[in-house]
């Protein structure tokens, strides 16, 4: 009893104090990290469900936007985190639940993004002629569904030929497919200009907002809403015969088939579901960024999402959320912060052990070392803790 009270007090204090810290020290990355850490604490603490939900709601719906007023970049980070949480949850279905190693997952993200980019900008006039495009901005909402369907269809098309391949070959084929999509995006500016090649597509329309809310806040809430839906969908899928069939396929697909699980159909379903989340977020991404080009959809991004799922825990929803948050924050804040900090030290003429930091080669920028981060995460997790930081917990049920 006492522990629960202590935990509750600590949870509320953590959230409140860290939020206050951020408002007092808006430039301090550490304060923002503490705020995020407090949310992790709220998740893990032994507090009643209503308090947990309430604190999350408070933090995400009220405190975060307030922090956004104090430092707009943090809101941007939070929005990016949200986008990658949805992607990680999608990949979690494919890799974590069904056990299919998809190394080209970013292709579905790209398909969704380009689907809105093409018609939501004047670019489509180049394809279809005339000046009917861009479509009215409110059609963005319809395109959330279109992006979902298009990505899911792409998932099925990809899945049909490749799903009978064994694990490592499946991985390589999906990698090849992801690369094909990227090169196509880069080169389909002739004979018909579908993607405008490396120049990318811009300007992409944004949907009208309600009550004149500024776009940074608007996209934050939109992403948050979609993430909530994605999490709900994931939980429902996981705790159903569909999720159990996927896990059985991952465990032993021969036995699963012998028990009546139709392998191809279930694997296609996994691909389609995973792809659909990426497709929806792709549409949001292109509207938010106003400009997209093939550079955002490379193998690096696919591996980044994989690293998120692996770090957090394969097959685990809270794991995917944690993994996405940690990796995105690492890239957008920690690495970038290191770069900035290093520059400040250089400018201040600081020396370390007699070696002046200003003499460090200009090419050395910590912000660019995402690959090293992903690489280290993947190797260390596989060797030390393959089940992830927040492993999937077996469902315990009251049996009659």
């Amino acid at each position: 009893m006492m522990t629960r009270v202590v935990h509750a007090v600590l949870a509320v204090a953590a959230v409140g104090l860290s939020a206050a810290a951020v408002s007092i020290f808006p430039r301090s990355i550490l304060a923002f990290l503490l705020f995020q850490g407090s949310l992790l604490f709220v998740y893990l603490a032994r507090i009643p469900g209503w308090l947990r939900l309430g604190l999350f709601g408070l933090a995400l719906l009220v405190l975060m936007p307030l922090i956004g007023f104090v430092n707009g970049y943090y809101l941007e980070v939070a929005t990016q985190v949200g986008i990658f949480v949805a992607l990680a949850l999608g990949l979690n279905i494919v890799v974590g639940l069904a056990g299919l190693l998809d190394l080209g997952y970013v292709a579905f993200f790209a398909v969704g993004a380009y689907s809105w980019a093409i018609v939501g900008s004047p670019h489509a006039n180049l394809i279809f002629g005339g000046s009917g495009f861009p479509l009215p901005a409110w059609t963005f909402y319809a395109f959330l569904l279109v992006g979902l369907v298009v990505a899911a269809a792409t998932g099925v098309l990809l899945g049909l030929p490749v799903l009978r391949l064994r694990g490592d070959y499946l991985a390589i084929v999906t990698l090849g497919f992801g690369e094909v999509i990227r090169v196509l995006a880069n080169n389909l500016d002739k004979p018909i200009n579908l993607t405008n090649g490396p120049r990318g597509i811009t300007p992409i329309s944004r949907p009208p907002t309600a009550f004149g809310v500024p776009y940074s806040e608007y996209f934050y809430f939109l992403v948050l809403a979609i993430v909530v839906v994605v999490v709900l969908a994931n939980r429902r899928l996981e705790d159903s015969h569909v999720g159990r069939a996927w896990e059985a396929i991952r465990e032993d697909e021969l036995a699963a088939q012998a028990m009546g699980v139709p392998l191809v159909r279930m694997k296609l379903l996994a691909f389609a579901c995973g792809a659909s989340f990426a497709g929806v977020m792709g549409v949001v991404f292109s509207a938010k960024q106003v400009f997209i080009n093939p550079e955002s959809f490379t193998f690096l991004e696919s591996i980044g999402v994989l690293a998120m799922v692996i770090l957090g825990g394969m097959g685990s929803i809270p794991g995917a959320v944690l993994g996405a948050t940690v990796v995105t924050v690492l890239n957008l804040q920690v690495l970038k912060g290191l770069s900035l900090w290093l520059n400040e030290l250089k400018n201040a003429g600081v020396t370390v052990l007699g070696f002046s930091l200003a003499d460090l080669p200009t090419q050395f920028e910590p912000a660019k070392y995402e690959r090293m981060i992903f690489g280290v995460i993947l190797v260390l997790m596989m060797i030390l803790r393959p089940q992830g930081i927040l492993p999937a917990r077996r469902r315990q049920r009251e049996l009659a």
Partner: protein, 323 residues
Amino acid sequence: MDFELLVGILPQVLIDGIILGFMYALIALGYTMVYGVLEFINFAHSEIFIVGAFVGVEILLGLKAAGLLEALPWPLLLLIVVLAGMTVSGLLAVAIERAAYRPLRGAPRLIPLISAIGVSFFLQDVIRLVESIWRNAFNLVYPTIDALNERFEITTTIDVSVKSLVVIAGALLMLWVLHALVNRTKVGTAIRAVAEDQAAASLMGIDVNRIIALTFLIGGAMGGAAGVLFGVQYGLINPYTGFVPGLKAFTAAVLGGIGNIPGAMIGGIVLGLLEAFAASYLSLLTGGAFGAEYKDIFAFSMLILILIFRPKGLLGEIVRERA
């Protein structure tokens, strides 16, 4: 369609294809040997390959700075850089196996594969880091060795650079040495035994760990040699250059039959020729609609098609007996 033009460029296309093919064959050997012994795709092999290229460029740049580049005869220069590249890459491969793969030996297939992907990414940025600090640049250019760039006339219309001939000769030599090693020596027999049945091989007294390390050493050395030759042939390298040739070489290994060493050689050459043809003729045949940029898609599509329709490859795969 200008038939004369198509035929006219044919010899050059063939030569380009063969050079490319031998390069792919050398890299493919690393993939196929490791797959034969461990049933595992060594994703990091593309970086082992490019490390060789970096070793080569560093040595040549160092010699150039010391003013020795012109002084030494080019065969000696090449020998030095190729041997250096082979050594470093080979040892790197062994180190990677020990650190990132051996702890995962019993685990389900996907776990070491994910680890290999991690190693690949890690190495790319390590190379970048080292070169950024050492040279403040990581897009490096191989210094030209004039003797190598001289062109050699085969007929009145076809000529080829000394460089290309050297690359082809070097690759052939190494392939021959490897073939002899694997088929005529005791060590080679041990490797083939471990590839076929690890448990039985160990019962016969073969130190499986040592043989696996040796396989990585040889495969890595081949990759490193390919890296140096790649740098000599194409000139420009950066830490991320290994990825695409690596993937294509893996395609070549599968095309020839994974685990099958002659298969990797054949697969490499076939793929190199196909790619050279695609690069040169695609634009001409489609009226400019699809040009040489699509040659990468061509190789990737080949990969997808082979894995789906003929995963055993041309010569048949050689993988472990499944219990």
